[in-house]
């Protein structure tokens, strides 16, 4: 009898790549619901368009590279990139904006660097930053939360996908914008004068961030990543904002809660910096990576030119990841300080 010969181990745990990616997509749901609730159905079209374009780009590149389409498309990685891009850009964006973002994410940031797992930069963030720099007007106009203005209906949202104008019906400065532009107001006044602030960190934004936090905790529970990155980032951000809170004076940078729950903080902490390909490798490395992202996010938010900074901070740290890796190779079994 001729026997089949395979290399050990002959067993495998079934959490294949497609499952991992599906779990990431599932974890996005609470945040998405909050986004849709507060910013309207535009979010849905963003999502559909971004995912569609991302898969399209992926398929094209795979075909060009001569890869088996069915096998490689079924890993869901393009969908995850598309979804992350979709929740980063303002709702009611025109289709071509989304397409450019998806193109840069998938073709340039992912495949030009070798494809899945070999991208040194976070693909969704590359797409986002390219759009932010090229089309600042489109990218800095966020819809007003539904409590303060009427959000467009489904049809209107669909139409905005094809309009060339940025959607300015009811856009409003985000709390981060307001914080940046604050000229000498005590925080209590600032909050009181601008309804966008809601109770802690921005109407709607608080819930969106809580949603992403919930999804993130679920992924942590599923062991899709370790706690080191998110904890590093949130801790650094919290510590810095506490240090410079200055009791809510006119020079205050905002409270820790404000920084944790506004903008893209939770999305960044649980969905972006946990991208393993572009992050650091060891646990210590991830802790450092997260902490440095946190520091950068705070610095750019408070002293830099942009109101939010997760994308820039992440891309900058992506540069440093190999360097961090170089110095944080874990000690193998049997070395003095690896005792349990």
């Amino acid at each position: 009898m001729s026997l089949m010969r395979t290399s050990s181990p002959h067993l495998s745990a079934a959490n294949p790549v497609q499952h991992v990616m599906q779990q990431v997509l599932l974890a996005l749901i609470p945040g998405l619901i909050a986004l849709i609730h507060f910013f309207g159905p535009g979010v849905i079209f963003n999502l559909l368009a971004a995912c569609g374009f991302a898969v399209l780009c992926e398929a094209l590149v795979l075909r060009l590279r001569g890869y088996d389409l069915r096998f490689f498309l079924s890993d869901y990685s393009a969908l995850v990139t598309g979804a992350l891009l979709a929740v980063s850009i303002p709702p009611y964006s025109p289709w071509w904006l989304i397409f450019i973002g998806a193109f840069f994410s998938i073709v340039v940031a992912k495949h030009l660097f070798g494809g899945l797992g070999q991208n040194p930069f976070n693909p969704a963030m590359v797409g986002y930053v390219v759009l932010l720099i090229s089309f600042p007007v489109y990218m800095t106009h966020w819809t007003a939360p539904s409590d303060l203005a009427n959000t467009p209906g489904l049809l209107q949202s669909f139409a905005s996908l094809w309009s060339n104008e940025y959607y300015d019906g009811t856009t409003m400065a985000t709390p981060l914008d307001l914080m940046k532009q604050n000229e000498g107001q005590m925080l209590t006044f600032l909050y009181a004068n601008n309804p966008q602030f809601g109770s802690y960190a921005g109407l709607g934004w608080e819930w969106v961030n809580l949603g992403f936090l919930a999804g993130g905790l679920w992924m942590l529970h599923k062991k899709l990543f370790t706690w080191h990155g998110p904890v590093g980032m949130l801790a650094a951000l919290g510590i810095l904002s506490a240090l410079f809170y200055d009791d809510g004076s006119s020079a205050s940078g905002g409270s820790p809660l404000f920084h944790w729950l506004s903008g893209a903080t939770m999305l960044g902490a649980f969905f972006i910096i946990t991208d393993p390909a572009s992050g650091a490798t060891s646990n210590l490395g991830r802790l450092l990576f997260g902490a440095m992202v946190g520091v950068l996010v705070y610095c750019i938010r408070v002293w830099g030119n942009y109101p939010d900074a997760v994308a820039f901070a992440v891309l900058l740290l992506n540069f440093c990841a190999p360097f961090i890796d170089y110095y944080t190779i874990p000690k193998p079994y049997g070395t003095e300080d690896s005792q349990s």
């Binding site: 290399s7 001569g66 890869y67 088996d68 069915r70 096998f71």
Partner: protein
């Protein structure tokens, strides 16, 4: 233009500053390179360490070391057949050159062999002993000779001189003790192949 104006001229000033700085740094670096010189192996030693030490002379030098010396003084790095592409790549790395394909004039890369003397036929002429560059053959005049297989580099040099042709070069084959796993074939290709196999 007065002297003062000349020196106050922005452009001139900048150029001067950079020249001075450049000079200073140059001096500093020059000093440092002498003061903190790293005592590395001389280049000949480093090259020799990469050569396979077969001592076969196929590079048309009487041994690996002489070839190492020749490389150090500019000879091509692709003349060593026993070392093959591997050695060429490592030499290219060391010397910061482009690797070249093996120069066919000096022979082709062959699997490693060891010499074996059919002892019944050996007449004890000692000719092979004189030819062996690494003293891997044992024997005395009129007495049977034998090859110490562990010491033999497989250089072939003892085969020619044997008057009764009793030396064979035997290919070194893998046995159960020297066998080792091979890496999986390129997984990208395998993956697609398998998938299309399944589809077919």
């Amino acid at each position: 233009m007065t002297m003062a104006e000349f020196f106050l001229n922005d452009l001139t000033q900048t150029v001067l500053v950079f020249l001075t700085l450049g000079g200073l740094f140059g001096l500093l670096l020059g000093y440092a390179s002498i003061r903190f010189k790293v005592e590395g192996d001389p280049i000949v030693e480093q090259i020799n360490a990469l050569l396979p030490q077969t001592q076969c002379g196929q590079c048309s030098h009487p041994g690996c070391r002489p070839y190492a010396e020749a490389i150090a003084s500019g000879e091509a790095i692709n003349k060593c057949p026993p070392g093959g592409e591997d050695t060429i790549h490592r030499l290219a790395d060391l010397l910061g050159m482009e690797p070249q394909p093996l120069d066919g004039e000096h022979g082709i890369e062959k699997p490693k062999t060891v010499a074996f003397i059919r002892e019944a036929e050996c007449i004890g002429c000692t000719k092979c002993i004189q030819a062996c560059p690494v003293d891997a053959i044992l024997g005395a005049a009129k007495l049977m000779h034998t090859v110490i297989a562990q010491e033999c580099t497989g250089c072939d040099l003892c085969v020619e001189p044997c008057p009764v042709d009793c030396i064979d070069m035997i290919e070194v084959t893998t046995n159960i003790k020297t066998w080792g796993w091979e890496a999986p074939e390129n997984d990208d290709i395998i993956a697609t192949d398998r998938m299309s196999d399944k589809a077919a």
